[in-house]
Symmetry: D2
């Protein structure tokens, strides 16, 4: 249960104005625990829409900005006691890089939506920038904020499943089963547009969540992939379906599936992990349960807030068992983790174990690499494409 007795951090937001979906989610998630207040914004790419959005949300006039550049400049001119502590970047993907880079460069902490950026070169530059400026940089792979995902991570990492042999991760959606982007749907529009979304469609939008979920829970390192990308809807510019075979260092194997044309799929992210001593199964649409299958004995259904769970799950939990928590709370846990890291940084100390639990810039960079390798593999006639990721060397 998050404690509430802390100084509120001041959040600025770029993107997330009228008509956006994810911006409102970020604001609710950030506000949930009373640790963060939303004080400034440049909420849309056009000045007029940005200002109207900020007004509708009750931003103070003087901190309701017409552009992110203006916001950065003006916030830097404020005394540290007023200035935003961090910026939340919730624009379409193509704007993540310039915005995040500028704020990080200026020493303002960053929470950025995923996928991080359009290319590994951009990701390397951000890693370099953040290292130099010393900012906290979180990437909102929000599904890792679920308590039962953290329980899964703890069980896998502590060896309760034995050696991991196999992983199956799936992400099924159906909302793009028709040519929605041709019908004025704002979400469909930018997500299927290479200029704003990047080189991949479904793979970037949801496949990257799947990759991160596997990586977070298992710690396994991707070694090689074999990808099939398909665009099923005529006229669409990016893939809307992907299936991948995975090879991990050490011999584990896996399958990753993601699709946005599977009718009936709402937001159906699932993970199964199979080890030599047991298996786990989790599903985002039923997030309060984690199924554990030991080698001997019956299946166990672990439930959020159960007294038998480990500390990582317990820390991520707000309500008693049976009082279901869901998407927003998981998202809020990412903000709580980032906020804890920011506070520790401000206090000049290293966070304690488990205190600052959030997906990092490295997670984001590895995700970009995964997207690039998936597209490369899909175009290749060779079965396996090397997919190992190495943290880039600092520029100097």
């Amino acid at each position: 249960m998050p404690t509430e007795s802390v100084r509120k951090l001041r959040m600025g937001m770029v993107g997330g104005g009228q008509g956006a979906f994810i911006g409102a989610v970020h604001r609710m998630a950030a506000a949930l625990d009373g640790q963060i207040e939303f004080v400034a914004g440049a909420l849309s790419s056009t000045r007029e829409r940005a200002l109207a959005s900020g007004r509708a949300l009750g931003l103070e006039e003087r901190r309701n900005y017409g552009s992110w550049e203006e916001m950065l400049e003006r916030e830097l001119s404020l005394p540290a006691s007023e200035r935003i502590d961090f910026v939340s970047v919730v624009t379409p993907n193509h704007m993540h890089y310039p915005v995040a880079r500028a704020f990080a460069e200026a020493g303002i902490h960053v929470v950025c939506d995923k996928p991080l950026v359009h290319s590994s070169a951009q990701a390397a530059d951000l890693l370099d920038t953040a290292a130099r400026s010393g900012v906290v940089f979180a990437v909102t792979y929000n599904y890792t904020g679920y308590p039962m995902v953290r329980q899964a991570r703890e069980m896998v990492r502590s060896g309760q499943l034995g050696e991991i042999r196999k992983v199956i991760v799936e992400y099924h959606q159906g909302w793009l089963a028709t040519h929605l982007e041709a019908q004025g749907n704002k979400q469909a529009d930018w997500r299927t547009d290479p200029a704003r979304s990047g080189i991949a469609g479904a793979v970037g939008d949801i496949g990257s969540h799947a990759e991160n979920l596997v990586s977070t829970v298992t710690g396994l390192e991707l070694e090689a992939i074999c990808a099939e990308l398909t665009t099923f809807v005529p006229g669409r510019q990016l893939d809307d379906d992907a299936s991948l075979l995975l090879r991990f260092s050490g011999g584990a194997r896996g399958v990753l599936m993601c699709s946005q044309i599977e009718i009936g799929g709402e937001n159906d992210l699932r993970l199964r992990v199979f080890g030599t001593r047991g298996s786990l199964s989790w599903r985002q649409e039923d997030p309060n349960e984690l199924h554990f299958y030991p080698l001997e004995g019956p299946e166990q259904v672990l439930r959020r807030a159960g007294g038998y769970l480990g500390p990582a799950a317990a820390r991520a939990t707000r309500l008693p068992s049976g009082h279901p928590e869901a998407f927003l709370e998981a998202f809020a846990n990412v903000y709580l983790g980032a906020a804890a890291a920011i506070r520790a940084r401000q206090e000049g100390r290293t966070p304690e174990a488990g205190e600052a639990d959030y997906p990092t810039l490295e997670d984001g960079a590895r995700g970009v690499h995964f997207i690039e390798k998936t597209v490369e593999s899909a175009r290749s006639e060779t079965k396996w494409t090397d997919a190992r990721w190495r943290r880039p060397q600092p520029v100097r």
Copy 2:
């Protein structure tokens, strides 16, 4: 999706300090949509704990009160533009009546936890008080805030199930299966103490939710009940298990079960409604689904945010389908409904249809009556106890 472009209402809170569970829930729920700010509190029954709790939560010193009486007096002395718009009463049950009555009498709107009060006489007095002072008075039967409960209500009330024949409502918990109140558990302590909890244990704590859920969804009027109350745990002072046969005006029948000693039960509230043309089934621990069984054709699984849902469910929804919402969002919907009613009252207008959707003082009074009649029936050797509720006549 709640709009955010409204003046924030100022909330004061009585109860909900350190060690409490439901106070934090109320604060998160109230804060979720950015329409309410928590500005004042008298958070505990002892001055010292109250002040410490308020400090921990970051209340301004001058509005962090040592007692509710002090809070009432001081808030009334503030200009209307600063004064709290409403008070949220989240104390143990026995304090609901004096606190709610005093604030209502003073013209301050009230949101009060359930069960409303200890007796029908108190409830009648509150109805009278609220009518005289003209305040909005909401009772946090939070489970009626779920979108799929509102969908069920709409389907039943619009006749999609035909005439209602039968209702089964269940509320299974197991947390009191042992003598927890003897082991220093604060929640168990007051809930099993007649002085603070009232004349009923499980029936008051969770049976009242079950009664309200049936009433809200079906609009059926209880005519007679036949109740069996049991105290299974040795040494416990109140019932921890109840089973009731129900008769409704017009001939419908029902069963209501609630228990706090059913091991494995977490917060397992379920409702089934059977009509001449179809049936519905809903479960709180899986709140995003509503199962509809038409007389002809296969079962349909209605899901939150589905395009086929009615306006009541749609209005109560924040996130796209597949992005699960849960307990907090439902709770927040009760606050949104009360806030809309308060604003309308402040603006001197009647809320539009569907605008102010929340459980009312009458719901609370009917719930108190239900608890009294259940206890009366349990002591009776006659099978049926009249359980009809009539709104009390105003005192003058």
Copy 3:
């Protein structure tokens, strides 16, 4: 897994001809394990239909009888090495008594469908008859044949749940939600006709299964009941819905619900048992699973053929786990149990522990008593009706 290396028993059948449902089930169940062969029948109440039915099923002409009286007479005239070993009585309820009595009196073992007979007087007479003639007499409460029901029985009886506090048993059907008996439906016709079905409708047809399931699994003795019977469908002669509060000797409490007007209900028999140390939950439509909730630790999902199950479940299992078994196998287990008892009787020995596992004539007699007491309670204005059953004293 039933062994197949035994002499086949010869089965005669009364009832179950063309248009019947349950007769075919009995024949498939009896045949499943290759231990029983169907050699004689009087399959319908009219000579012509009986003979046509037997021909359609390939009965030998000389053992395809026009009436049960003829069958009894002629079979008795055959040498013991040819004569039927037992008769299966699958007629509408009103014929159970005369047929079963005559065969039992003649020393032919009996398998009889439920509810056993129309009155406790008839039941007492059958008990007396069977005791005198020494026949095996099984009653096809088929749901107790499920492996996971037998596992539940073993867990409860061995104390794994501690002391039993509470039982909830439910049986939901919807097929009689309309006036089907007025539309020529043969099953609905006799089941809603007091002359053939007896004094109760839903209670006799399915409530009796619910009562037996509780009794079988828990061994608890009913002490008192409080029943509400309703006939929802206009024009119907018997109850189509029942709800009962239950009191058991020793202080346990319960609820029994059964209905045939709950649209969406197919054959939804469920049992939940709550003890001081844990709980169990089972559902007939998902029969291969048994949910166990220990006081400490997570829920366990026990599955048929799991290596961790006890001997009673193991003996009742034919297929490996994951190869689902269902209704027919459970029904066949009742036949296997009866067949084992018959063989032991023929061999002049007492069956070994667990060898002859089947619902007995006493189960049937107790079920008749339950039906009578339910009807009595439903007519009473007193809350509790004594429902204790005592084995009748032998007539001489």
Copy 4:
């Protein structure tokens, strides 16, 4: 509901003696509907075990054979009115070919377990043999016998899902997660031995079911595959895990997974089919349900014996809804289909539409081809391996 008024077919069996699993299943399935009697057998590979097995099962001495060759010779010497109508081949895989070929050559109809044979050359020879001799030849891909699989087939083939875009088929088992074949487990022993099982392990044993399920339901033709085969358990000779990307003619895509090392997996065969107008989902361990997701409107849960199902499902159903059917009934449906075909052949007529519904020798041959191509692909460094199957040209 299968009619019972037909001449019983006489079945001989090769394999399935003591210690075997699948033989008993075949016998129960064949017996279930009273249309087939088991009259002859050569039940084991050693004379002594064969005879002992037959005796235990009550075979007549003169038709309890010590070898299949003896059985074939002696049965052919019997008059047609006594001779077996068909042979059921339930040996380990390596014996399918010689036995099936010899009986087919002799004009005796064949029901053969899967995978059909070890090589496409053998399959081609069987096709040729059966064509010449005119026998009916069924392959027991038993999962296609489930009513809801037949419903799925009907819905897909009739266009209710629109054009099929994507298929996901999975088969999860965990029983080989340890080195069971080294511990004397008979089932594990032969299934992991290339000499008896063939060139593939999991792919042959269960992957072939998955391939057949897709083919049966969708009618899609495999065009190319990309396979990853893994042997996780040290010391094992064959694959115990497989993942495949699939390309179908016409542009549909798919994923096939099968594994025998996934702890917790019992017999978890699942199929999902996604079209342009809707999707279907089915799971073998919950076989009475089929989930249909139309492009518009809520999910529908179709249930066995529902009045809204098509004729193929209805014909495959024995019991009313809610009375679950399972593995044995599905298996029996394959026998019923083969029996209908045999009778029609014996009567010199073509079966009516839907009368003889069973997996054919072509299904079996295509399955062998699939196994070969999977192994070929797994060894290839090229991504795609051509997997198109063409019915072999007759030898002359």
